[in-house]
Amino acid sequence: MSDVKKFMYINRKAPYGTIYAWEALEVVLIGAAFEQDVSLAFMDDGVFQLVKGQDTTELGIKNFSPTYSALGDYDVNKIYVEKESLEARGLTLDDLMPLKYEDEDDDWAEKDSIRVVTAAEMAEILEQQDVVLSF
């Protein structure tokens, strides 16, 4: 199919403090129905969206962090996290939720969706996209 475009959703905001993170996630889930080549990028405070152990019980608002684990079901399995943004926030890959997908072309083997990339690598990935949507 030649009409498949490369879509990149950039996430740069922390969850809960503003509505951007949840809105972006909803747009990604809706957009997944159009069967395009979708990637997500997390940079700046966006990396906080993926931190594990979120518990919003005392805030009385929805904890949407479990929804990121459903992205694999929606065939969204290229999730790039910028290394520099993690480091500036004292975070490592171990602090993030282990997002997985099942690889259809490899007997449904379970694989990691998150790839930590440097700013230079991220720049290259952004160059390759047909459409970039920033949140």
Binding site: K13, A14, P15, Y16, G17, T18, D44, D45, F48, V51, K52, G53, Q54, D55, T56, T57, E58, L59, I61, N63, S65, A88, R89, G90
Partner: protein, 102 residues
């Protein structure tokens, strides 16, 4: 006049926390809440600034906002105190005025 400074924005998104800590008077209280709680974490790009400020002001962080964001209390800079909503109210009552750094 005792002042409670509040910061609810991430220190990586805008410099509210940095400005607050630069301008807060000696002995003042600073409360971090909402996205401001990220400023209380160890090992970040602003951690040294925050540690240094602890010699000048008391820093508090709102527990429910930490939990929502998956930031464990073991990840906080030493000397920062966790408070609940009641503690937040107490701080506003104990101080003569509140300065909210948006």
């Amino acid at each position: 006049m005792s002042t409670l400074h509040t910061v609810n924005k991430s220190p990586f998104d805008r410099p509210s926390l940095q400005t607050c800590l630069r301008l807060a008077g000696k002995g003042n209280a600073v409360l971090l809440f909402e996205d401001g709680v990220y400023g209380a974490m160890q090992g970040t790009a602003v951690a040294d600034t925050v540690k240094e400020a602890l010699g000048n002001v008391s820093i508090y962080v709102l527990g429910p906002d930490l939990k929502a964001r998956g930031v464990g209390e073991d990840k906080l800079i030493d000397g920062i105190k966790v408070v609940d909503y009641k503690g937040f109210v107490d701080l506003t009552v104990e101080n003569d005025k509140v300065n909210a750094w948006l």
